[in-house]
């Protein structure tokens, strides 16, 4: 579970990584480069230093001299289509906007206080010498394809999660613990593959995926890990999660769930998963949401799975590990055609490092799944951790490449 996004209202979040939407925060002191078009957004005015630019990459530096938050947009000829935008420019701050625009007529707009249509001005993109305008149109197509593919992936994974969860809940309620244990890790993989999307729903994430240590004193514990503890109960005298808030661990000995409690907790798991399923039927994504989501999946691996903290009772952390890597790889592969154009070296490096990590993971495959986390040696854990860091570092550079 990811606590960071718990309180983000789902409507505003979409994806957990929405902190960056089309803007490049930058150092104000070097924002006055000659190739940048200075924009001054005051309370009443929107001064744009140039009203035309050649087709291709256009950079604006927007300074907010007003006393309220402002936004800046480059809009298409219809005055509606957003070519690029910078949000949340606080008073006294400067932000950059980089867009790639083909020849045509546009509007610039400052929106102090974020009200109305903004203070608009005409903007013309002239024919470029090199024909960069065509590139832009192609790139948009690549972005659209990437996000459509990813949207389909999320849809598919949530469908499988739904079916799997229903099956799992049935077995668990019926007291068929062996069958439930067998399903646990495999079904959870569908959740872990799309974790940043699932986590963007701040209400569902803690209900479905909270670990015992994540809880506040007195908070009710529900979801996958609550059932995990019941299926892999602590041995007598071997308690020790560092948590002491729920699951009967406070008094020392673990109390197995009654049939009634099982029914209650399993039904809630199914109901919450159904809500997730309903909300993910038609999600729209942006390219940076894919890249940030991939980065977050690897962060999850680094902080939860490679340390063995996620699956504290079942030790099935490597299933989650694989699923997080799967999800990150899909997002990357969806973006790859665009990234290949924007930064071939970075793209190749990512391919190599994804492969390297996968080769390592493959060494720990066992039967249909993986070794338990507790079966890994210290050296093996460190090797995995190093491979995660090696992949995460270039992966965190993708957003900058695909956001424009």
């Amino acid at each position: 579970m990811n606590r960071r996004h718990i309180l983000l209202p789902a409507a505003a979040a979409g994806l957990g990584a929405l902190l960056l939407t089309g803007c490049e925060p930058n150092n104000p002191s070097d924002a006055s480069g000659s190739d940048r078009i200075a924009v001054t957004s005051s309370e009443k005015e929107c001064q744009v230093a140039a009203t035309e630019a050649p087709a291709g990459t256009i950079r604006f530096t927007v300074e907010n001299t007003g006393s309220q938050v402002t936004e800046f947009y480059l809009l298409g000829e219809d005055g509606l289509r957003i070519i690029g935008e910078v949000e949340n420019i606080g008073p006294g701050l400067s932000r950059d906007l980089t867009v790639t625009a083909p020849e045509g007529k546009y509007f610039t707009a400052c929106k102090p206080g974020m009200v109305g249509d903004g203070i608009r001005g005409d903007f013309t993109v002239t024919k470029a010498e090199g024909g960069g305008a065509e590139v832009s149109a192609d790139d948009q197509k690549l972005k659209d394809e990437a996000t459509a593919q990813y949207s389909a992936y999320v849809k598919d994974q949530t469908e499988q999660l739904m079916t799997g969860t229903e099956d799992f809940a049935k077995k668990y309620k019926a007291g068929d613990d062996d069958a439930a244990r067998k399903l646990y890790a495999a079904v959870r993989m569908h959740w872990e593959r799309i974790e940043p999307v699932a986590e963007s729903f701040g209400d569902l994430d803690p209900q479905l995926d909270a670990r015992e240590a994540d809880l506040e004193e007195g908070q009710e514990w529900t979801g996958w890990h609550r059932i995990e503890k019941d299926l892999w109960p602590p041995q007598k005298g071997a308690e020790g999660t560092g948590a002491d808030t729920a699951g009967g661990s406070d008094s020392g000995e673990y109390q197995p769930m009654s049939d009634e409690e099982r029914t209650q907790i399993a039904d809630k798991l199914v109901a919450d998963t159904k809500t997730l399923y309903d909300r993910t039927r038609n999600m729209d994504f942006t390219a940076d949401q894919l890249s940030n989501g991939a980065k977050e999946l690897l962060d999850e691996v680094a902080t939860g799975k490679v340390t063995g903290e996620e699956e504290f009772w079942s030790h099935t952390d490597l299933w989650d590990f694989q699923a997080n890597v799967d999800g990150a790889r899909i997002a990357y592969e969806n973006l790859k055609p665009l990234l290949d154009k924007r930064d071939q070296d970075l793209s190749e490096k990512l391919t190599v490092r994804f492969d390297k990590l996968q080769t390592l993971l493959d060494q720990h495959k066992k039967g249909e799944g993986f070794k338990l986390y507790t079966e890994l040696s210290k050296d093996e854990v460190k090797e995995l951790s190093d491979a995660v860091n090696a992949l995460s570092e270039p992966l965190s550079q993708v957003t900058e490449k695909v956001i424009e």
Binding site: N2, L20, N26, Q68, N88, A243, T245, D299, T303, S392
Partner: protein, 454 residues
């Protein structure tokens, strides 16, 4: 413990004398150069007749005494003394020094007299060390050639470095795990000295938590701080056992308006809205205990060892980093505009119908205005303790806050941060403690005296 062959006339009044005086260095020592075997600090440093004993009550000039003629540029050592005695213990409102050494200790004796004697010894040695002196006069090499030196020696020749030593009592000093009285002090257990509750996502290592006693030593020089803790531990062998120790290498907050806000290991200026030494009204309201009890004039120290997950943080885009803190990285200005010290405007609308300072931004959740006015004096330090099993850096913040009551001044705020703060995603709390910091003492008294005499 005192070597039998000490030749200095004053050396008999070392910490173990239990006489209740800081040391044997009475006023008669001022400005004199008593002939004695062994090397006084000023002799060792080759300084001639000392001039001013600027520290109140500081008899001996110690290691740093120097003639006016020898004054060079730069800060003079005698200006680096923070007075140990006073209404409050030093090391709370003292402008935060750059280095820290902190220890949690358990008391191993059953004897309250031995405990009291230790506090007297600690007081005497601490008072001397904060003046840049050896733990006992002649402690460096003034004792017998056949006895181990009383002072361990590694701070010899170093300046006082604004050393402060702050001593505190854990809840377990008053009652054991079953609630039983340990030293006849149960009735004096302050209600505010509670056990730290479990906070969301705590991953505490019991070996880094709590303790019957604590020592906080802060100084400009890490060697001076470590020397202080080490020598107090040594004085306590047989009476106390050290449970844990933490080094801090860089202050993370300012406790005086004269100090610039430092950066934490995430590269941000945090804790801008700290209570400052100059704000005496706020100190009385939020930091000092004012209840007429033995704790009057004291405070409560809340410590948290907060591992910061540097590897994942460093991969967060700048825009995300700023949104998480709610401040700009360069200047530390709130995202609602203005400069670092301008009040954040938490209501200012931002894009997407969200406030410009996000609802889960650190600055919002930690700010007094969002916590019913609750404020604390933060005095934490950056730490780096090698690597973990995965090869990632075990580094972060050793958080220290002083409050007049942890139940209102710290626990509710930490609960909220642990639950809602966007920053929590990058943090792991691995250590935790609350200590009662008794008031200061006048020369002749000892730290904690009010507890035993009340």
């Amino acid at each position: 413990m005192t070597p039998p062959t000490r030749s200095s006339p004053t050396s008999g009044a070392g910490p173990t004398s239990g006489a209740g005086h800081a040391s044997g260095t009475g006023p008669e020592a001022v400005g004199t150069s008593q002939p004695r075997r062994g090397i006084s600090r000023r002799a060792a440093l080759g300084f001639g007749a000392a001039t001013a004993a600027t520290a109140a009550g500081a008899g001996a000039l110690g290691w740093f005494g120097r003639g006016a003629a020898e004054a060079r540029s730069g800060p003079r050592p005698e200006d680096q003394i923070v007075e140990f005695y006073g209404e409050h213990q030093a090391g709370i409102t003292t402008p935060a020094q750059d280095r820290m050494c902190f220890a949690g200790l358990n008391v191993t004796t059953d004897s309250v007299d031995e405990l009291r004697l230790l506090l007297k010894d600690w007081t005497a040695a601490a008072a001397r060390m904060t003046r840049g002196q050896e733990t006992t006069e002649g402690g460096f090499d003034g004792g017998s050639y056949h006895a181990p030196p009383e002072d361990t020696g590694e701070a010899f020749g170093l300046t006082p470095g604004h050393l402060t030593i702050t001593i505190g009592f854990g809840r377990s000093l008053f009652v054991d795990a079953e609630g039983k009285d340990r030293f006849g002090l149960k009735d004096k257990l302050p209600e505010a000295l509670v056990e730290m509750p479990h906070f969301p996502a705590d991953v505490l290592d019991e070996q880094r938590c709590n303790g019957d006693l604590c020592i906080q030593a802060c100084a400009d020089d890490p060697q001076v701080a470590v020397h202080a803790v080490r020598n107090l531990i040594r004085l306590g062998f047989g009476t106390v056992s050290t449970k844990w120790m933490q080094l801090g290498f860089g202050r993370t907050s300012s406790t005086s308006q004269a100090q610039e806000t430092p950066r934490n290991l995430f590269g941000f200026k945090d804790g801008t809205a700290n209570i400052m030494a100059e704000e005496t009204d706020r100190l009385d309201e939020h930091v000092w205990v004012r209840d007429g009890s033995w704790m009057d004039g004291g405070s409560y120290l809340c410590a948290r060892r907060i591992r910061m997950i540097l590897e994942t943080w460093d991969r967060e885009p700048l825009g995300g980093q700023e949104a998480i803190f709610g401040r700009t990285k360069r200047d530390g200005a709130p995202l609602s505009g203005g400069g670092e010290f301008d009040a954040p405007d938490f209501d200012m609308p931002g894009s997407n119908n969200q406030p410009v300072i996000a609802t889960d931004a650190h600055v919002r959740l930690a700010h007094p205005s969002q916590n019913g006015g609750a404020a604390m004096l933060r005095r934490g330090y950056n730490y780096a303790d090698g690597t973990d099993a995965q090869g990632n850096i075990d580094a972060g913040l050793f958080f220290i806050a002083f409050v007049s009551d942890p139940r209102t001044g710290f626990i509710p705020i930490q609960n909220r941060l642990a639950r809602e703060d966007a920053l929590s995603e990058y943090l792991k709390h691995t250590g935790s403690a609350i200590f009662a910091i008794p008031p200061g003492t006048a020369e002749g008294g000892y730290i904690g005296q009010s507890l035993f005499d009340s």
